[in-house]
Symmetry: C2
């Protein structure tokens, strides 16, 4: 995976390169589908070792990317996401080891039963095949995504952001070190050898070679992928997450969760964007929570009830209810009980993650069953919306769609299944 750029490539040459890459991925997938758990886990552990051993080389490649980004005047937040240091490299390496330590999803019997005619039917987990992942600046996605695909017996075709080209290339080389050490084909994890944007367009048409596309990045990327792809897409759109403070909420718990859900990290998709408060506790709960948020440095935009609390609360517009701020801003609204909250979330939410704070179990159950989101929580922060926090080891994203995978996408979500039927000569009457 050298850093050749396709500036000199014509469209035909790009197509040839991509087809060769697709064929190599398909062949590697066939090997990987039948690889032992031991071989796959060895590859993951050896890749982790390579990341640690080649840390100096990796930080040098990363410095090249960071310098180029600073030269191009990229936003500071973007440059920060791009930057690797000792602790980030260590986190990548231990992430791969955590994935190695998890149970192998492949070959697991998910379900089995016997038919009256004696046929023994079992449903067994299998890999999907080849997974294409298109992502932006964070180079660690190369390790996370490559590792999860490998664990689940799938070949990966990775297209990272052009700004992390050298860093990702070196992480890819470490994954190849691991694959080689385990006797598995290097083509199990391939990075596009070019930063040419046209390569993404070609990738999205390669339905003969890629079985599923997972875009990971901003809205623009995801919309482009969903519009152009000839391959099924598992995507995460908006994360407009809500915290609803019910009339039966414990005030201290509500304060703690509301501030954590919004402010722990504002840029992740599980960060709360809207706080809904039951009108029954409008007097007792709304004011302390709004003050906590203001004191934590959060901008608050509210309905008239919230505005009445503090002059610093700005007026929320209709647009605020449907905005994923990914910033220290929250919209606040008083609603008529749990059904008011359910209605607001149904109308304005994004089916991602929503939480209710209440001591009333019946009200909680009503919320948990009626809110149509990938993750619904009771008395816990929306910031737990994360594959690692769910115990999946890692994730390559959170799906807001309902097909195939919903919520955090870990190794198990990158699998399919087959039916294995054992008989003793049965024919169908």
């Amino acid at each position: 995976m050298t850093g050749t750029d396709s500036a000199g490539n014509g469209a035909a040459e790009l197509q040839t390169t991509m087809t060769a890459l697709g064929k190599a991925a398909r062949s590697a997938a066939a090997v990987l589908a039948n690889a032992s758990s031991e071989a796959k886990d060895k590859a993951l552990r050896e890749a982790a070792t390579a990341l640690r051993d080649r840390r100096a080389e990796l930080l040098q490649a990363n410095a090249q990317d960071v310098a180029a980004a600073e030269e191009r005047d990229l936003r500071a937040a973007l440059v920060d996401r791009l930057k690797l240091d000792d602790s980030r490299v260590a986190a990548m390496a231990s992430g791969l080891e955590e994935v190695a330590a998890m149970a192998d999803p492949i070959g697991t019997v998910v379900d089995q039963w016997e038919r009256p005619n004696g046929l023994q039917i079992s449903r067994v987990r299998t890999p999907l095949g080849v997974i294409g992942i298109i992502y932006e600046s964070r180079p660690n996605v190369t390790a996370d995504a490559g590792g999860l695909c490998l664990k689940s017996g799938n070949a990966a075709v990775l297209r990272g952001g052009s700004e992390s080209f050298h860093s990702s290339g070196l992480i890819g080389a470490c994954l190849h070190d691991g694959l080689r050490a385990a006797g598995l084909p290097e083509a199990a994890v391939q990075l596009l050898p070019t930063t040419d944007r046209a390569a993404v367009g070609v990738m999205l048409t390669m339905s003969d070679y890629i079985d599923i596309i997972v875009p990971r990045g901003g809205k623009g990327l995801i919309e482009r992928v969903q519009n152009e792809s000839k391959i099924p897409v598992i995507a995460h759109l908006d994360g407009i997450c809500h915290v609803y403070v019910d009339g039966a909420a414990d005030l201290e718990m509500a304060r703690k969760i509301a501030v954590n859900a919004k402010m722990r990290r504002v840029s992740i998709c599980g960060a709360a964007e809207t706080l809904l408060v039951d009108k029954r506790v409008h007097n007792s709960h709304l004011e302390p929570i709004v003050h906590d948020l203001l004191e934590a440095g959060c901008e608050v935009r509210g309905d008239p009830a919230a505005q009445a609390i503090d002059p610093r609360v700005a007026q929320a517009t209709e647009e605020d209810w449907e905005t994923e701020y990914l910033d220290s801003i929250i919209s606040v609204r008083v609603v008529d009980g749990v059904d008011g909250a359910i209605d607001h979330i149904g109308e304005h939410g994004s089916h991602h993650t929503d939480s209710i704070i209440t001591e009333d179990a019946a009200v909680a159950d009503h919320f948990l069953s009626k809110v149509d989101s990938a993750i619904v929580l009771w008395n816990a922060s929306t910031q737990f919306a994360d594959g690692g926090e769910f115990g999946m080891g890692a994730e390559i994203g959170i799906s807001t769609g309902k097909l195939h995978a919903r919520g955090p996408v870990g190794a198990e979500q990158l699998t399919s299944y087959k039916y294995v039927v054992r008989g003793d000569g049965q024919v169908r009457p």
Copy 2:
């Protein structure tokens, strides 16, 4: 659901009609998602009763369709698929009752675990939303598909073949009788009110209102749907199914299964199209099996070894290995053991259903794990590839894709899931 045709409709009018239908489906889906098992099962049983009570009316509507088909000189096989009689109506009604008697997939806890921080996570089955089904002449698909969608808490938008318009309309009316009796919205099952082919095109763009499209019919239909759809598609492509007679096969079992797999019904997707015989039993097994097939009225196209057996065996061309005959024709080839069979199936198969006949358990396990098909069988006929035979009550098709659903698509395959997380005040550190 009256028989108005859209001959007079402009494109704008069609769009308006379809959007209204989509909105009604979305609203009905929200009600259905929270409907009790009792209500859904009552609707299914009452629909079965309506089918029986309105049998005369249904047969009359069907006679209208059949007369029109005969006038248009449709193929006899097509007219036969279209025709309803007392026993077919009875089968539809009891099919709905069987679906009613099955366990409700919705609300089932598929998995649950506790995190070290005390969060209780469970994965709970939910409906998908709105399912669009596009099918051809068999009017019974209206009952099967409508019933499975209802059971799984999904709204259905059905587009049957124009030739079964009146029959399907009446079956739809019976489903509405059931929904009304159970207090559920009629829009839970909607049939397109027009036979205009353009309506299919509009339907395939309605990604705001339809969550998944299931085409059921010939290759032409499925290719059109896959090419045009802006909505994810679960489809069944070819069913090029194989029977492999291993060197360690019991001859009598192999004869019985080979003939059943091919000849029981030649027009279903699980019918075998190719027989592979291990060269080790070329002398002992090949001849009796080929003679059985010839005697059963099957045309045999073989490689030189098969041709040497009987002058009636024609020469197989490369094309034969990749042809889904759906007719009394089979291709026959001698292969080099189980790996020869696995290679042939990998190269020429369609990932649908493949069977091995052998007394050697290790060889069987090798075949069952290496053949990458939705259904793999050991010592059983490929004709068991059917949701009913699997115990799913009914199916709306067999998926040859690996995403979301693979193999028979029954009620459970028409579901998604959500994560329900219960805490006691946890915030993320």
